[in-house]
């Protein structure tokens, strides 16, 4: 209902979906040859990531210094900025002809750092509403526990018990990413369950959904790389598509949520 009431929001959402669908399609099909899959994936991701950063910056600056929303949007801006920098670094290595992507790479530094402000932002948003656990909250908690069990069983446990790591940093990162993604997912689901029924629920639920999908795409990426089925170069397989296409889509969803919220608050 929200999008239909504001034509500019509706237009923005349509453009975001069309751009995401177009990039996903050309990424899967690779119409310009073998190497074009990677190009489309990286360009689509960077477009989404930096759009989210710019919108977060505008939202942050639109609030007064002592407002909770300003702190929330500062944290979101920093988190998304760090991730966008990480995505840009990854794209640089990924698109470098013939070069292998090191692990850890410099991209891992901003990616890891980006989790912390994003956790803080979701925590601030959830805490500021001070809602008591109701039926929706318990359902959200059940979903979180379910995803937590899957993450632990399929991603964390094999990583923790694998004896063949040469370097501790690799194992630490392989453990951190699923945990970081899971905490983000949990925070996003809790926020989405807390804002229900009001005018702000749509933008915040879309933002939370985007963050949840980002974290799930990260988990699929972690699962795929751990099992050696994630394709870095060449035609993507199902696991690779399930990690990359939702990753781009999640940024598009977050951008839509930011724009709708900005329209509601009078920022845009």
């Amino acid at each position: 209902m929200t999008l239909w009431q504001d034509r500019r929001s509706l237009r923005f959402a349509i453009v975001a979906v069309v751009v995401w669908a177009a990039f996903s399609l050309v990424y899967v099909l690779g119409p310009l040859g073998e190497g074009s899959h990677t190009w489309f994936a990286n360009i689509g991701t960077l477009l989404g990531a930096w759009s989210v950063v710019v919108l977060a910056l505008l939202l942050w600056r639109s609030y007064a210094p002592d407002e909770t929303a300003r702190r929330i949007w500062l944290a979101l801006f920093l988190g998304f900025l760090l991730w966008a920098i990480g995505d840009a670094m990854w794209a640089f290595y990924d698109l470098l002809p013939g070069g292998d992507i090191p692990y850890p790479s410099p991209a891992d530094l901003p990616w890891v750092a980006g989790y912390f402000p994003l956790w803080v932002a979701l925590w601030l948003r959830y805490r500021s509403m001070e809602v008591h656990p109701a039926r929706g909250q318990w359902r959200a908690l059940s979903l979180i526990v379910l995803v937590g069990l899957i993450v632990f069983g399929y991603v964390l446990w094999p990583t923790l018990t694998y004896p063949g790591y040469d370097r501790l940093i690799e194992q630490a990162l392989d453990v951190f990413y699923p945990i970081g993604g899971f905490i983000l997912f949990a925070g996003a689901v809790l926020v989405a369950a807390a804002v229900r029924g009001g005018r702000m629920s749509f933008p915040w639920q879309i933002i939370a959904l985007g963050i949840a999908v980002l974290s799930l795409a990260d988990l699929v990426f972690a699962y795929g790389t751990w099992n050696g089925v994630y394709v870095i170069e060449g035609t993507p397989n199902v696991i690779t598509i399930l990690a990359d296409a939702p990753y781009m889509g999640a940024y598009a969803a977050i951008a839509v949520g930011e724009y709708v919220l900005g329209r509601l608050e009078g920022t845009f």
């Binding site: 209902m1 009431q5 809602v131 029924g197 009001g198 005018r199 702000m200 629920s201 509601l264 608050e265």
Partner: protein, 264 residues
């Protein structure tokens, strides 16, 4: 057909406020009674169609017109008491309540068809004034006059109208659970401070012991802080500024003097 029941006033326009989805967030006491509700708060959260006894498609059309065009003018409709089943004709008008230009709910006026149409029915400020008057009436009718002076009573009305406006804004923006959280915060503060006041569905009731201006100030600050933390200063300030227009200069000055109008 005809008038809904004896003793219920149907000689003036009455208000129903909804959120963006069409769920009732506030209904005037007399109208709720006419529609078969013992307690007006029982209607809160119900869809507009169920509350007024309208056909769902009629209610949906009305809300859609208000949300897309900003208003709906003088539509003849039949409303029905869900208790007695009796129906009567009314004229429905509505205007969009907006935050920063975005639709957040509808202010719907239910008027007898015999009344001449008024442009005020489509004015959110006028609706807030009517809401403020409803609060004054409630306070005049309910409980003992804890603050005997007329001026102090007016101050209390101002306080109650402001709290109701904050509550409605929060429910419209953040949903009913956030409205309940606001009420819980206010009740907790009252309990801890030993004040004689309650808040349900945004409406304040005062006990025999009355309420001092300092208490009003503290409760207002808690409510404002919560409203700002879940929405924004801009939205809260706009809503309260529109409410203030409906009070006289003297009461607004007095409210400022007692700290009820803290700058956001």
């Amino acid at each position: 057909m005809g008038y809904p029941s004896a003793g219920v006033r149907q000689d003036r326009p009455m208000l129903v406020f909804t959120d963006e989805s069409g769920a009732v967030v506030l209904i005037e006491d007399d109208l709720a009674q006419a529609l078969g509700y013992d307690n007006p708060d029982d209607a809160v959260g119900d869809p507009l169609a169920a509350t007024l006894g309208l056909a769902p498609s009629d209610a949906e059309t009305l809300l859609k017109q208000i949300s897309t065009t900003g208003s709906a003018r003088h539509r003849l409709a039949q409303v029905r008491s869900h208790r007695t089943g009796r129906s009567w004709w009314v004229m429905l008008s509505g205007s969009a309540s907006a935050a920063a230009g975005r639709f957040i709910g509808a202010d719907i006026t239910v008027a007898p068809p015999t009344l001449p149409p008024s442009a005020d029915d489509l004015d959110h400020r006028h609706n807030l004034e009517q809401m403020a008057e409803m609060v004054r009436t409630r306070l005049r009718n309910g409980g003992g006059p804890a603050i005997s002076e007329e001026k102090e009573s007016e101050l209390r009305s101002y306080f109650a109208a402001r709290m109701l406006a904050i509550y409605i804004l929060i429910v419209r923006m953040g949903g009913r659970s956030l409205g309940e959280t606001l009420e819980e915060k206010v009740r907790r503060l009252n309990r801890e401070s030993g004040w004689s006041m309650d808040m349900r569905r945004g409406r304040l009731t005062f006990g025999e012991a009355g309420l001092r201006p300092e208490a009003c100030r503290e409760i207002t600050q808690v409510a404002l802080a919560y409203a700002v933390s879940v929405t924004s200063k801009r939205l809260v300030a706009k809503e309260l500024a529109e409410l203030d227009v409906n009070f006289g200069r003297s009461i607004v000055d007095r409210a400022t003097q007692y700290g009820l109008r803290r700058d956001l």
